[in-house]
């Protein structure tokens, strides 16, 4: 076990953890965050996505020790139901989910996409989200929500 300081959603958090622990379990079990979710643990689905220093990271396959001194943003860091991020608001407006389990990955990946490309076309969105699985088939709504967020962001 080791004491590790993480910077999560703008706050410093100290955890006592086996350094090889995937970041996902630390965020969920130690910091009690619900945004990042366990879907596969194999980097195959995207449910566990967080943003580290501006890029998407699959936290199920990213040791907590590698997250030291980096800025970690989780879904909670974007906004709340009361004060949603423009993407979160757009997802609500488009009712862009069924079970919602994949939506952490969709929104976090979309956040990085929009940060890099504020007005993506359909193909840009599809490419960015190709590695994010949704078993419920909410894909078209997710695309509409991202386009809505892009148009509302300015």
């Amino acid at each position: 076990m080791a004491q590790i300081t993480l910077h999560v959603n703008g706050k410093a958090r100290m955890v006592d953890s086996d350094p090889t622990t995937p970041l996902l379990y630390v965020l969920r079990d130690d910091l009690e965050l619900h945004g990042p979710r366990f879907g596969c643990g194999l980097s195959q689905c995207g449910a566990c996505t967080v943003i580290i220093d501006g890029n998407t990271v699959r936290s199920c396959s990213f040791p907590v020790s590698s997250a030291k001194n980096k800025q970690i943003t989780t879904l909670e860091g974007l906004g709340t139901v009361a004060r949603p991020h423009v993407l979160q608001r757009a997802f609500v407006e488009e009712q862009a989910a069924q079970c919602g389990y994949c939506m952490n990955g969709m929104i976090m990946t979309a956040k990085v996409l929009l940060d890099k490309n504020p007005h993506p076309g359909d193909d840009d969105i599809k490419r960015a989200l190709e590695g994010n699985l949704c078993r419920c088939g909410s894909h078209l709504r997710v695309m509409r929500a991202i386009k809505r967020a892009a148009s509302e962001r300015v």
Binding site: N9, K11, H34, C45, Q95, Y101, R127, C136, G137
Partner: protein
């Protein structure tokens, strides 16, 4: 940047029971406490269904649960409508066995159809009682009272008003209702008059889903998020091959992993419990176990599987239609058609693998999971632990979309065995490989359809025979953990459904049979079976609608026209088919009659289906690359009639998902296995549809206000495979008779195309 709330839990009185409050609904604790005071909920007591708090919140108690399909919102709309309160005031308290009446599992797209009326009638009884009390309070006859947003007013003189909460806020109704039947068939005071559909203001509107905002921010609590004080983490160690037993467990092999609490073995069930999730994961992986190597009778290849289906005697021939004499009509027909269709085992493939938390303390048990049937899970726990049901409380917390997988919910049983062994609450999270390998699969099916046409070109014989497996994990049979500790099956399994064999059409001589082939193992096999969304209907419809299409092409008839001809008096199906084809701008044509130049060919195909009263028709537009064999679905147009529509946008959301999942199952999905077990244990080896393969979707909703509201959660996935197969034929002139329609199969079919077939 500010850190948002992390922990959203609060401890409610006694027993360490944890209640997660959803911020959207304000305080409901009083309503909850009020209901809890009433003891075991009885269907005949209004207080078992509804509680009105002083702040006006209406809490609805139901065992129907939200599976990501929007039913919680739709049921709340039904109650708000009948009770005349604003939608925002309804709070659904769903899936807690200590607080609800058993309305049976949430499954089969029957929630709106069956539980809708149950809750509506309860609301109507409540409204009647509130009017009665108001009539006394306001000293006015009940028929001169009007209700608006939960406030009752007497007409005539001014300011004579009383609100629901003033009448019964935080109090019990103490009103008895009629209740007959059980579960899906439970009828609640059916004679109490209800609102006229013409006056509906909430039902029929696209009220936004109440659960979604928190799912987009992390404030929502899934079963995977439930954490209890002192909770430990468990993982089950699955055998490497089917039916093997742990002969020797070397606990020393995980000594070096800090935080391991216990290795638990009971019969063939093996698991580890640890202080952290990571320790549990590592320990489960590292634990050295010597497993027995039994021989197994599992079919080892798809060919063996289909041969088993073909050659094994059925234990139940379910006869759907038997009109005239199909055999002799076929024998005498001037033209004969016959084809066999294969449908493989497929996964539900929940995006989040199964998860549950159990707290077993002596003979009292509390469990949190995403079970579709909290009462069914309670019974399974009771059978396995030999603890009376009344001592077991199952509390629903949503998991990821499950499409039937959590009807037989396994994880609570794993968690209970582990919790009992360590005397602490234990959370069990299945791995991806556990879920792919061990979830009960949608059963494989083999369908043969024969049809005969007379000299005038009429279809005079229709002989449809499906051979498929039942659900081995049907209610009453032990689940995975139960089998591993030695419990035996009590039933050969439950039917995988019978719809889709062409019963929508009228042929002079017609026989439709769905035969059930034995598939029940007392020892754990990864090819367990259960209900997968629209159980069995996709394969059955794929077969019947493909063969009908084949006949149409051979007779040079437009595929839509041949369907209309034999739908005869089936008015709703006819209207749905017409609606779909109009929206798709269908042009009358004979399939695959246009010449194809170049390597890419476009085609359109149509299919209709009906499931429990809901009717759908789909038109698929595909592009097939003849050299690569790749099928691309460009667009699917689908018309849908499920009677009265409760929430149009919610319904569209379901239909989109059904179509996309249908495309996935048609093009990509097949559980691969050999005699040892399942081979595709991750998403790379069991691919599902991703963004690049998602077609455009166009939906036509037919709203039948004169009809009851029927199910929308799964019927629209049913016509998708047949519509695709028929579109592929239209494009390239080959019949795809086996799912998944992979590029290899398309290429093989093109190569083997009979010389006589039009190219």
């Amino acid at each position: 940047m500010e850190t948002s709330t992390i922990s959203r839990r609060e401890l409610l009185k006694g027993t360490g029971a944890l209640v997660v409050s959803f911020s959207l609904f304000g305080s409901v604790s009083r309503a909850l406490a009020q209901a809890a005071a009433g003891g075991e909920p009885e269907a005949t007591s209004l207080d078992s269904w509804l509680a009105i708090a002083q702040d006006g919140t209406v809490t609805v108690f139901t065992s129907k649960v939200e599976l990501g399909t929007g039913t919680e919102t739709a049921l709340a709309q039904i109650v708000a409508e009948e009770l005349d309160v604003p939608f925002s005031r309804i709070h659904m308290e769903a899936g807690d066995t200590s607080k609800s009446v058993d309305q049976a599992v949430t499954a089969a797209s029957r929630t709106i159809e069956r539980a809708g009326p149950q809750l509506r009638q309860a609301a109507a009884v409540a409204r009647r009682e509130l009017l009665r009390q108001a009539s006394e309070r306001l000293n006015a006859p009940a028929d001169q009272l009007t209700v608006n947003d939960g406030v009752i007013s007497a007409s005539g003189a001014s300011v004579r008003k009383v609100s629901y909460s003033e009448l019964v806020g935080d109090k019990r109704f103490n009103v008895k209702m009629e209740a007959s039947g059980f579960g899906w068939d439970l009828k609640i005071s059916p004679d109490v008059p209800v609102k006229n559909v013409k006056d509906y203001k909430i039902v029929g509107t696209s009220v936004p889903r109440t659960d979604l905002p928190g799912k987009f921010t992390g404030e929502f609590t899934y079963a995977q998020d439930v954490r209890l004080p002192g909770m430990l983490h468990g993982r089950v160690v699955r055998p490497p091959v089917v039916n093997s037993k742990p002969l020797n467990v070397d606990e020393g092999s995980i000594k070096q992993i800090a935080g391991v609490v216990k290795v638990v073995q009971e019969g063939n069930f093996l698991g580890v419990v640890a202080q952290t999730e990571w320790a549990a994961i590592q320990a489960a992986k590292a634990l050295k176990v010597t497993w027995s190597t039994p021989s197994t009778t599992l079919p080892a290849t798809p060919d063996e599987l289909y041969a088993y289906l073909k050659d094994t005697k059925s234990f139940n021939d379910q006869v759907v239609v038997n009109r005239g004499n199909a055999d002799s009509a076929f024998a005498q027909a001037s033209k004969k058609y016959e084809a066999t269709f294969r449908w493989p085992f497929q996964l539900h493939g929940m995006l989040g693998p199964s998860c549950a938390v159990a707290d077993v303390r002596g003979d009292s048990v509390t469990v949190w999971s995403g079970t579709q049937g909290p009462f069914r899970t309670r019974k399974a726990l009771s059978d396995m632990l030999r603890i009376p049901e009344k001592n077991i409380r199952v509390i629903f917390r949503e998991e990821s979309g499950c499409y039937g997988r959590l009807s037989p919910d396994d994880a609570p049983l794993d968690a209970a065995l582990l919790s009992r062994a360590v005397g602490k609450p234990v959370r069990v999270q299945w791995t991806r490989a556990d879920e792919h390998g061990w979830e009960p699969k949608g059963p494989a099916q083999l369908v043969t359809v024969r049809a005969g046409v007379d000299a005038q070109g009429n279809i005079v014989a229709w002989d449809y025979m499906e051979r498929g497996f039942p659900w081995s994990e049907s209610a009453g049979n032990p689940l995975l953990a139960g089998r591993q500790i030695g419990m035996k099956n009590v039933s050969p399994g439950q039917s995988n459904g019978t719809a889709g064999g062409g019963e929508a059409y009228e042929f002079e001589n017609q026989r439709i049979i769905a035969a059930l082939i034995p598939w029940s193992q007392d020892t754990p096999t990864p090819l367990r079976t259960s209900n997968l969304r629209a159980p069995g209907d996709l394969a059955r419809t794929f077969a019947s609608e493909s063969l009908l299409d084949e006949i149409a092409a051979d007779l040079h008839v437009d595929p839509v026209q041949i369907r209309l001809r034999y739908l005869k008096n089936n008015k709703r199906v006819t209207e749905v088919l017409v609606a779909a084809t109009q929206a798709a701008k269908w042009k009358e044509h004979v399939s695959h009659s246009a010449p194809v130049s170049g390597s890419k060919a476009m085609g359109r195909g149509v299919s209709v289906s009906g499931r429990d009263g809901t009717v759908t028709a789909a038109v698929a537009e595909v592009e097939v690359d003849k050299s690569s064999g790749e099928i691309t679905i460009k667009r699917v147009t689908l018309a849908h009639d499920c009677g009265l529509i409760v929430n149009p946008d919610g319904l569209r959301n379901q239909i989109e998902g059904n179509i996309i999942q249908g495309v996935s199952r048609t093009l990509l999905e097949e559980v691969r296995f050999d005699a040892q077990g399942v081979k595709n244990l991750d998403w790379v080896s069991y691919p599902i549809v991703t963004f690049r393969r998602v077609p455009d979707i166009q939906i036509v909703l037919l709203n039948r206000k004169e009809m009851p509201a029927l199910g929308g959660g799964e019927p629209s996935t049913v016509p998708v495979p047949a519509a695709i197969a028929n579109a592929v034929y239209d494009a390239i002139g080959v019949r795809m008779r086996e799912v998944p329609m992979t590029p290899q199969k398309v290429q093989a079919s093109l190569r083997s195309k009979a010389p006589g077939q039009r190219a």
